[in-house]
Amino acid sequence: MCLGVPGKIIDIHGSMATVDFWGVRRQVCLDIVDEPVTAGDYILNHVGFAIRRIPPETISETLALYEQLMEENDMDVMAADVRGEIEAARE
């Protein structure tokens, strides 16, 4: 639950954004994000809410851990927490 998950904003409609997480598209609430965001930005999602706009120059560093976790099997708790964070956003 402490681990947010990064995703890319596809489009924004009101206080919600369609966000892509490794091909899975979910609706994420923008009510508590730290600065204004636009389509193409990456955000850190926690329980369905964007909590930070990820600085563009650090995206690849930020994604590396998750790329590895996404390859893990279903029994792995860290990978399960990441999948849970993606599930937390609305379909």
Partner: protein
């Protein structure tokens, strides 16, 4: 367990060697504490303890929000569920033991419990029904902000919230003041500090003269954070260092902090098995009394106490484990009577609990054959 895969093996080797030199310079055992289930997952999963020099103890403290949810708080949820109120909560909460029952036990007896992943899903659930819905809300400040967001966004009238939200900085004070504590510095969780900013730890550092390093979750991030922390300990320097600037600033997420403190006030309360933590619990301010389940319902937890508590519970040492005084392997129930399928204590329930993580990955694996 995963094979060690560092993005930059040369850097990992360099950091591991630096740690060895630093510990040799210090010349005595050192214990540091992290307060985040995701940190423990990464440390155990990637076998980082096998890279730490002998004498350096990296301990998990009270970093699992589900685990520190106190027994009477679980009782409140169980009583409401048994009264026929529909409860929505995070999946990890279901098996957490109360005095006599967990929510899963209440569910087996016919209570209605909905597992959710997000506060937004609770709002959707309440909008789709006329029934009273109580959101049993757990989590540290990072998660509490999301709860605050639904509360201030015109929630449905049939939705109320039982807040078991907890605030991390005060428990660091309590743990470091424990007479048995050997902790000489803290590794703070990057994503929680995304909200609060690294500055939230400055008063703690000033009072306790212990360094705090904010670190990310990549194996390299954690190694770099530990190196920085041990360096500060060697130099006797008590300050806050942020080694995770790509997610954390000094000020943090100011709009989120404003929202958090507009909705919640910190009050003292018990953390399971640890202690009374002044200002450690987040409860609703009076302006939000209308969504506070404790004020909307008469929650008679005493009605539960006619039953006998589960046996073995008195042997559980979760509290000492979360305070960093003992390890899961010191518990005689660990991996015997207490396993994830049938947990005795809260630390074996959650994916962020020390016992569950050690059960899955092992605590101090021997990875001497894996080269980095």
């Amino acid at each position: 367990m995963s094979e060690l895969k560092f993005r930059d093996p040369a850097m990992a080797r360099h950091l591991a060697e630096t740690l060895v030199h630093l510990m040799a310079e210090i010349g005595r055992p050192v214990a540091v504490m992290h307060v985040c289930g995701s940190h423990e997952q990464a440390i155990a999963k990637f076998g980082l303890r096998s890279l730490f020099p002998k004498g350096l103890d990296v301990i998990m403290g009270p970093g699992c929000p589900v685990c520190v949810t106190d027994v009477p708080e679980v009782d409140e949820g169980v009583v409401l569920a048994r009264q026929g109120v529909r409860i929505a909560t995070y999946g990890d909460m279901l098996k957490v033991p109360g005095t006599v029952q967990s929510l899963a036990d209440a569910q087996a007896d016919g209570a209605r419990i909905d597992v959710i992943y997000s506060p937004s899903q609770v709002v959707d659930l309440a909008r789709g029904t006329d029934e009273e819905i109580v959101f049993f809300a757990t989590g540290f400040e990072t998660t509490a902000v999301a709860t605050a967001a639904i509360v201030t966004n015109d929630p449905p009238k049939n939705l109320s919230i039982l807040s078991a939200h907890k605030y991390i900085p005060p428990v660091m004070e309590i743990v470091s003041e424990m007479p048995e504590s050997r902790v000489e510095g803290f590794l703070a969780a990057g994503h929680a500090a995304t909200i609060t900013g690294s500055a939230v730890f400055e008063p703690f550092v000033a009072r306790h003269k212990l360094p705090v390093v904010v670190a990310g979750f990549e194996p390299l991030d954690i190694l770099a954070g530990v190196v920085e922390l041990v360096k500060l300990i060697r130099d006797g320097e008590a300050k806050v260092v942020n080694t995770f600037p790509r997610c954390v600033t000094r000020e943090g997420n100011l709009p989120a902090q404003e929202l958090l403190w507009r909705v919640f006030r910190p009050i003292g309360g018990r953390w399971r098995g640890i202690a009374h933590v002044p200002n450690g619990n987040l409860r609703f301010r009076d302006e939000f009394a209308h969504v506070d389940a404790r004020r909307r319902f008469d929650i008679d937890v005493k009605s539960l106490w006619d039953y006998a508590p589960p046996h073995l519970a008195h042997q559980c040492i979760c509290g000492d484990i979360m305070a960093g005084i003992r390890n899961p392997v010191d518990c005689k129930l660990f991996n015997k009577e207490c396993v994830p399928e049938n947990p005795v204590g809260a630390c074996m329930v959650s994916n962020e609990g020390t016992c569950k993580i050690w059960h899955l990955y092992g605590g101090v694996p021997d990875l001497s054959e894996i080269a980095i």
